[in-house]
Subunit: 641 residues, 2 copies
Amino acid sequence: MVNHMAEHTVTFDTAPQPIHVPTGTLLVEAARLAGVDIHQPCGGQGRCGRCAVVVREGTVRRRSTLRLSGEDVANGYALACQSVVEGNAFITVPPQEAIERRLTTDLTAAAVAVPAGYNPTQAQTVQRVRLSLPPPSMDDQRDDWSRLQTTLRQQAGIELIRASLAQFQQIGRALREGNWRVTAVLDADAWDCPGCPARLIDLQAGHCPEDTPLWGVAVDIGTTTVTLWLVDLLTGQARAQVAEYNRQITRGEDVISRIIYAGKNNGAVELRDLVLETINGLLETACKRVQAQPADVVKATISGNSTMIHLLLKVPAESIRLSPFVTAVNDIPTLTAREVGLNIHPEATIDCLPGVASYVGADITAGVLASGLEDSDGITLFIDVGTNGEIVLGSRDWLVTCACSAGPAFEGSGVVNGMRATKGAIEEVWVNGATFEPTYRVVGGGKPRGLCGSGLIALLAEMSLTGVVDKGGNINTVLPTPRVRLGEHGPEYVVAWADETAHGHDITITRVDVDNLVRAKAAIYAGFTVLAERVGLPLETVERVLVGGSFGKYINVEKAVEIGLLPDKPWDCFHFLGNTSVRGAYLALIDREARARVKAIAARMTYIELSADNTFYEAFTSALFLPHTDLSRFPSVQAVP
Amino acid sequence: MVNHMAEHTVTFDTAPQPIHVPTGTLLVEAARLAGVDIHQPCGGQGRCGRCAVVVREGTVRRRSTLRLSGEDVANGYALACQSVVEGNAFITVPPQEAIERRLTTDLTAAAVAVPAGYNPTQAQTVQRVRLSLPPPSMDDQRDDWSRLQTTLRQQAGIELIRASLAQFQQIGRALREGNWRVTAVLDADAWDCPGCPARLIDLQAGHCPEDTPLWGVAVDIGTTTVTLWLVDLLTGQARAQVAEYNRQITRGEDVISRIIYAGKNNGAVELRDLVLETINGLLETACKRVQAQPADVVKATISGNSTMIHLLLKVPAESIRLSPFVTAVNDIPTLTAREVGLNIHPEATIDCLPGVASYVGADITAGVLASGLEDSDGITLFIDVGTNGEIVLGSRDWLVTCACSAGPAFEGSGVVNGMRATKGAIEEVWVNGATFEPTYRVVGGGKPRGLCGSGLIALLAEMSLTGVVDKGGNINTVLPTPRVRLGEHGPEYVVAWADETAHGHDITITRVDVDNLVRAKAAIYAGFTVLAERVGLPLETVERVLVGGSFGKYINVEKAVEIGLLPDKPWDCFHFLGNTSVRGAYLALIDREARARVKAIAARMTYIELSADNTFYEAFTSALFLPHTDLSRFPSVQAVP
């Protein structure tokens, strides 16, 4: 049979040699013959988009281009499970990571770039100036401090400065050791105290070389992960980016349990010390990479949710947890590293970005700043999904925000086999629509231990698409597969059999888990609804959806739409921005104007308390459906056969 | 003989019964007959003024009224050694202390009085306000800090405040414990930072009773003595005044030796700790007297010479000692008790009064403030004599100042039998012009151990008056008295024989001592001369001479004029103001306007460096004479027979 048909030579870049296949051969089949392994998580249904390859030369017919953009196709992309050979072809197989990046629009790389048009000299709040003071004499007996101030005025145009007692103890030595030539570092932007004198951070004997970097750090304290960017303030460039688990995790996985822990005995001190250890450890690592000393760092900006900021500063956070849910302080004045306990220059200024409410913290104002939402023409939705879903809706003209108590389901808590997105977590799942057999990807490779948030979203979407669960979240127990069964907690679906797992137990998702996930996604979707209703605009008017936070970095937008977590929008409406919190802190570190903007953002954001809102409950109940009670809200999901 | 003359009844208030004496009997003789002991330190020469009594009724003829003012005579004062009975009389003998106070115009009592027209509400920089905050609710979820700030604005008219991290850690608890009623203490006068927000000092749960005192302290750190006034800021009244030796004395008696000590090993820390111990000890004592706690003290002002301020703050003082003699800082910004280490409220603001130069410190600007010199119509001279003589000359329109290296002679150093004005120091001396026998008064009574500054001045004056020394300072070795002799160090005069002294050795003054004292007084007098020359005014135009410092409290102005230490002026030109340094600190503590004034004083004072001035050396050489080479400058001394 084969001989009757035309044969074509297909060359895979990763194969030892070309193969010959007849017209109509699927690329995945050709690859198999050539000894090339192409992942097909959805089992070749053309749904997951993960078998995309690039047709460099030759003729291939694409039966389906689902998940591929027009640009992708123009660039040669084709789904290997949906494309057939119709002539000689040269195919490259992108590495798995490249595929993932293409599918999830990870802006991490872009985040490192200095903002376009950035002019460090104009934008910087920190100034380093070389001064030559007239030495004192019997004819000029001014005190060291006056002499320094006058010289700063004359040689650097800085009118007034302030210094700490510790600095007064050191000024004289620096002046004399440098033979009246010194290098001063000042922070001129007193954002907590408009019109106040510039702060003296450092005074070193002699004139330092012009090209010596001037270090600053931007820190995002996540409940789970702490991220730190080490930045050369002279250029604005991030020179090292490091992240580590927040060591507070050992004292509670979510903010509520941390607040409770902080209220016990020495808990507040312990938690403060743990996060300081984390940050100081990251500082060491980052500094080593660029051969700097932590003590060279002269400024820090810090972002994080309100609880994280309170715990860092050992400010009691109890009121965040208890009705009526207020923080001690949303907008803390500039502090010094000495006060806070950061192992950088003790006089370094530390600016915590301003928060808005107990559950809309600095991480969200930083996110709004980094995403550009606050300056957008069209109506934009910004979301950051973690234990809570924080949502901001708005444009250049207005900003409303709310936090929905989604619960920790998407962080893997409250789900029998849930876990954080660490090694062993199933982070992506595809279910074959005919066999109901799942395929999954595990963080770090190896055997799975449970399901993390993105895995749960994907699983729920796949179960819904393949009919394993119905729109009401009920598991279809009559399907012809052993994977659907009645377990201890009612109906359940087996994602991994005991012999495939790291711990030797089946990994399942139960009806109760599904309910928890549906409630979580419903809370977030209801948040969108209420915000939109509050401003009298239908969700359809939203032009862009910006997804921030590390959670957003890994989720699959199509699957999130499929379960009704994200609103049903064209693919190109969604922008996954990665860690917008650290990016916002970075902008506030390097750019005076960005600092003013984040302050203005916090002041402009109207916080809407959902727990005091009846319409929220209604919207929430309507959303307790996959994807929603009102299917007209999800036309693309409705269209899937 | 006695019978032929008219007899008169003389009644002494302290005598068991009246006595009868003839016309012409000296009052001292009458007193002796009546069994009343009247001190006659000068041996009845009518020079010392210490035998003054009050003639309540009757007729007494005053042969001489030297040392008595017209007002004294109008009030009945008479010198008992110079007045004779001419009729019945009733005489009161003032206690010795009362006499001393009258003769040395000690304004200590007046210094305690709240300034005339003082209105605490208007003048105070520290405010205590009772606030009632609207409790948070689901409809009002502002953070604690914003809530507090808004309430302060609405209920106390305070626009902006700033707080430390430690305070942010405590605000929430105070608000909730007080059920949203709190008492806030703020320092609204940021003299180091005009236009800056008010500082939050204290926030207590509940409304404190209106009459609870609000404590502040004014501290003068003298090289020898530290003085502290505990003041109720609500009324401006000093409620306790305490003083103690500066514990730094064990590490050097003068500023130079302290600076040298501070430069050794841990010397700076030791000296800082010693003065802190001194102040904190005084705080304890003062607080106990009024049943307050040191932690209740919410503000402190500190005066002292530039070295004392530097050592307190552990700011290196080495440059004060070395040419060109500059301080690290003359005008240090507001600090907190936490930074400085004072055991008062940790957030209490601490304002060090501003200095002008290395040897014209905050003690002098405080003195100018307290003395009112800076607001006087006529030309006024202000002097503060210690190791250095600090001099200010001026009026409302101008102020010039200098410091003369008088050396420590007047503090008892550099003189064989010199000592500080402590127990056992001879503080006043009279020499009988006929017998050359001395009479002296010892601090604390008891046997003498040596001579302190005021004793040395008195001794030198008496020796000069009685011819024991000539105008050139030479001891007249041919006088018919065993007290003048040739000792180990050349000619000397014995003030106390070994058997009268505490240590069993003769107390003498040598030719070398006399030289040292003459050089010291010449330096100070030359300072006056140069200051006056600099502004082109003769010393005669000086209308008032204000003597500050504890030294000034004890010296005898007439004797100081006699040796040429003070300019020759009528008695009522001199005002001995006692400790003007602590008084200035007190004014800066209680009065916003006084604070502005002392800043202006420091800025207005033109410092003249004498060591760079040739005219100083000439003036100094001319003054190396008792009282001066140019006797026309001392007409009253010239007039003494």
